[in-house]
């Protein structure tokens, strides 16, 4: 993995703690970093990801905003234009949409529009995905809307080490970065891991080979990686070697790493929690086909949620959201094609 380490000491951290740590490090290093959003100050956010930051860095650096996503993102454009580096939080991914005009019309276009005079160095963090048993509209996965909007980067980490390193890169990056945090992985004990203390970064746009294999390439990101690993474990016991790619960022998309893997396996599965139609899986599939057509030995499979809103019928959603056994079924299918 490409990385710059300041120290080599490590701590065992959850995803949640690693993200907090990244913000803490950057608040220390860069006085232009400010954090705001709904409930991020005193409470530390509904998922407590900013916990302790206001107390440590002060109310001028970490504060509650009025309840308005368009206000949060729109002011981050303005504050960014005059030299601040806002790292804002939205309460849930689906609640990005009241801000979508600011995103589509401005975040995406502001630098282009000013011919480079103004950059948009903001980071927008938010929890995403289902499986939480929460209310309606708390389970969206809106990455495709962003990926179709030029000029915006999209990071979607799957583990504590990546989360911290990618968030530090995102904060340092002069482009706007939307940072997806899978709720069910925030404190998933299975993915706690050793994370360096202090500063390090992971470049945006470099995928991670999570597992090497020769039979089929499975591409995923974020909270889906664990389901993919589980499916691959099951396949392994049947003698099937899956190569697993964790994209880490959707924009930039590391098509190079994908193509290298496809050259090896010839078979591809793409997994995401977002709905299927016009999801990012379609783009990845299209690029693979464009660039590795003759290497493909079977149709690319997409394992995604059904084309409905994330249902509020929480006891049923496991029929729709990609589970390990759905992925396992897809492995069977592409290998028998």
């Amino acid at each position: 993995m490409t990385q710059v380490l300041e120290k080599t000491e490590t701590k065992t951290l959850t995803m949640a703690a690693a993200i907090t740590d990244a913000m803490d490090v950057m608040l220390d290093r860069d006085p232009s970093v400010v954090i705001y959003g709904e409930d991020v100050g005193n409470l530390g956010g509904v998922y407590r990801i900013t916990t302790g930051l206001q107390k440590k860095h002060g109310e001028d650096r970490v504060f509650d905003s009025p309840l308005t996503e368009s206000g949060i993102i729109g002011t981050a454009i303005g504050a960014g234009a005059v030299g601040m580096r806002p790292v804002v939080e939205l309460q849930f991914g689906g609640f990005m949409m009241p801000a979508f005009d600011q995103i589509f019309s401005h975040v995406s276009r502001y630098r282009y529009r000013s011919r480079g005079r103004y950059k948009v160095p903001m980071v927008v963090r938010f929890p995403v995905g289902g499986g939480t048993g929460l209310l309606e509209q708390h389970a969206d996965s809106p990455e495709a809307y962003l990926a179709h909007s030029p000029g915006i980067k999209v990071a979607y980490p799957s583990n504590p080490y990546d989360a911290k390193g990618l968030l530090i890169s995102a904060i340092e990056d002069d482009d706007p970065v939307f940072f997806f945090e899978t709720i069910v992985r925030y404190r998933d004990p299975k993915i706690r891991m050793e994370v360096p203390t202090g500063y390090y970064n992971i470049p945006l746009g470099k995928a991670r080979i999570a597992r090497e294999g020769k039979d089929v390439t499975i591409i995923g990101y974020g909270g889906m990686m664990q389901n993919i690993e589980t499916a691959a474990d099951a396949a392994a016991s049947a003698g099937i070697q899956c190569e697993i790619i964790d994209l880490r960022t959707i924009v930039p998309l590391d098509i190079e790493t994908i193509l290298e893997s496809v050259a090896k396996t010839g078979r591809v599965i793409i997994v995401h929690e977002a709905t299927k139609t016009a999801g990012i899986g379609a783009e990845i599939a299209a690029q693979i086909m464009e660039k590795a057509f003759y290497e493909l030995e079977a149709p690319i499979e997409r394992v995604c949620s059904f084309d409905t809103m994330p249902s509020p019928f929480n006891s049923l959603n496991h029929f729709s959201r990609p589970e390990a056994h759905h992925i396992a079924a897809a492995i069977k299918k592409v290998l028998s094609a």
Binding site: E38, G71, F306, D307, L316
Partner: protein, 382 residues
């Protein structure tokens, strides 16, 4: 709560402005919430006390729904209900206003905390339970109820209500749309858009801000520099009212006036009902993380309870006594248990619900996914 920089900040500036600029806004007067009953149950406006049968009806409904709210917390704790947004403490605010509606003519456009208003407008306890269980049957809105879907994304319902009001106006039904929003939600664009759209179209809508002091952990003052949010009525050219939201008589009286004005073609109104969120934000929230539960929450629970206020009044009026209380609570408990039983006995959710009602005429892509779903259901059942 509702602390304002207004007096400190604006006072001086305004006086200075006034000396200089003819066109600046005049200094507006201080406002105090409208009240009919004092917190101890004594009338402050004897002239406005309604028929005691109505007061008793209000009392009974508040007691019934407080019981429900408490039961829902219990159900949640024993994992028999999903995450639920409690209204406890806001009974006067929701019931007093919803009782101003005509269930046959008027539409209620609720948000997530409006279970009390919805039940008052006709929703059944059983459906409420099933809704908060995430059961498809609870999500189905019966055809004979004029209630719109519960809105979670803050505050879409404000614009829908303006649209319902426009629709009723076009159809000349005489109906009115009533909708609610938390004080936090007033910082959103759609709050402004919906109220202003209704103002521009003179549509029969009643917009109620339930100011319960908190937007999750964020206190009221973070939302805006203004002291009272109903001052925004000024900027829409519509009537605005500030009401003691824990005084059901005051709430009801103002809501009735606003509903009647709307029905009479006088356009929308904006009402701010001052109340307090004595409960956690939802059953999943722990307010100790951001506020002193022995401070304001305790004060409001002990001294501003909307139910106790009316009970004291009715007791003084000799309309209420312990025997009646005991009998009422027994009825309430019986009713709730019957609803719970009905909900418990309902068939488990059918996974097919996941792909129903996406389109009226589903495209082939949905049909394919329905086939996949059927496969998956078969596997599980196998």
């Amino acid at each position: 709560m509702a602390t304002s920089r207004r007096t400190t900040k604006k006072g001086a500036a305004d006086t200075a402005n006034h000396a200089v600029f003819a066109g600046s806004m005049p200094v507006t007067s201080e406002l105090t919430p409208f009240q009919i009953l004092a917190p101890d149950g004594t009338p402050v406006r004897e002239d406005l006390i309604p028929d005691l049968d109505l007061v008793e009806e209000m009392y009974r409904q508040m007691a019934r729904l407080r019981h429900l709210d408490d039961k829902f917390m219990t159900l949640y704790k024993s994992q028999k209900l999903g995450n639920y947004a409690q209204f406890g403490g806001q009974e006067a605010s929701q019931i007093g206003s919803a009782m101003a509606l005509d269930q046959n003519l008027d539409f209620l456009c609720p948000m997530y905390r409006n279970t009390a208003a919805m039940i008052t407008h006709g929703w059944s306890l059983k459906n409420a339970i099933m809704y908060w269980r995430g059961h498809p049957e609870g999500w189905r809105i019966p055809d004979d109820l004029n209630i719109l879907p519960v809105i979670i994304s803050i505050p879409g319902q404000i614009v829908h209500a303006a649209g319902v009001a426009m629709g009723l106006q076009m159809k000349k039904t005489g109906g009115v749309a009533m909708t609610y929003i938390g004080e936090g939600g007033t910082s959103q664009g759609d709050f402004h858009i919906g109220v202003n759209f209704a103002s521009a179209r003179n549509a029969p809508a009643v917009f109620i801000i339930e100011n319960n002091g908190w937007a999750i952990s964020v206190p009221r003052k973070v939302q805006s520099g203004v002291d009272y949010l109903m001052r925004r009525s000024e900027g829409y050219g519509i009537p605005g009212y500030l009401v003691d939201g824990n005084d059901i008589l005051a709430v009801h009286t103002v809501a009735k006036k606003a509903v009647q004005d709307a029905r009479d073609g006088k356009g929308p109104s904006l009402i701010e009902q001052m109340t307090y969120r004595i409960r956690p934000h939802t059953t999943g929230d722990d307010p100790k993380a951001y506020r002193d539960e022995n401070g304001d929450p305790k004060f409001w629970a002990e001294n501003r309870d909307p139910i106790q206020r009316v009970k004291r009044f009715l007791t003084t009026e000799k309309r209420w006594n312990d025997d009646r209380e005991v009998a009422m609570m027994a009825e309430i408990e019986t009713e709730f248990q019957a609803a719970l039983e009905a909900a418990d006995n309902f068939a488990a959710p059918d996974p097919k619900a996941l792909l129903e009602y996406v389109f009226v005429n589903p495209p082939v892509q949905i049909l394919e996914q329905q086939a996949i779903l059927a496969e998956r259901i078969k596997e599980v059942n196998a």
